[in-house]
Subunit: 113 residues, 2 copies
DNA sequence: TCTGTAGTTAAATCGTTGCTTAACTACTAA
DNA sequence: TTAGTAGTTAAGCAACGATTTAACTACAGA
């Protein structure tokens, strides 16, 4: 039997295994705002986007994007790849699947990141 | 092609089909509080429970349970069955699957409610 | 009628959070 | 050096939300 307390020590925030209730609540809280949820849906549909691209497509300021992206990053939901002065954001799909699977009992198939 | 606006008119809050971004955000917001998430996890594990049973198992007051259960009900996440003066709560699993599936692209198998 | 159980509701408190504005760094190119 | 692009951070405000307490309805049994 693997306890949640063990899992927490293995994956501090990113993915790999099931997270505990507090962590999952934090992930759901990150998805609970319409603006952030639209950001996540954009990334789910388009794969990888820079902050400016997201802000433009959504019609919000870069400051507001940055504000929300921090919440998503702290929940472990987005991965950031630097290229010059541009930062590309992508979704941590395996963390999403793990988090959702803990409630539905169904863990979807995720290929890579 | 089925638009989200069409879906909304079909299923106002309960299940059946995909919900729009605002509705999904509301569902995630209902799951965003640790106390409510524990309630949902209890129902996911044990199927059907009365308010008192949930409050007892969680070590919270009935008033606090009632407060949170209202949020869950408004999101459409719980179904209530009356029996005498007792109300039994159960999870709307298909709504959960639809909501999660809109992000992961994977819609789990749900049998009945 | 009185007591206990099950649940609901309102008010008050207090912390959190979403948004805007503005100032800031860092890199690139003319 | 100047301007433009990409992103970050802080301050302030308004709105929301989690919790506790207390008062309430409704029903069942002694």
């Amino acid at each position: 039997m693997v306890k949640n307390s063990d899992r927490k020590s293995i994956s501090s925030v990113n993915s790999l295994s099931k997270t505990d209730t507090e962590q999952r609540a934090k992930i759901f809280a990150a998805l609970a705002d319409p603006t952030r949820l639209r950001m996540v849906e954009l990334l789910a549909a388009q794969g990888e986007l820079s902050g400016s691209e997201i802000a433009n497509q959504m019609g919000i300021s870069l400051a507001l994007f940055c504000h929300h992206s921090r919440t998503l990053a702290e929940a472990g939901l987005i991965h950031i790849r630097r290229e010059g002065q541009t930062k590309y954001n992508s979704l941590n799909r395996s963390l999403l699947s793990d988090c959702f699977g803990s409630l539905t009992g169904c863990y979807g198939i995720t290929e890579g990141r």
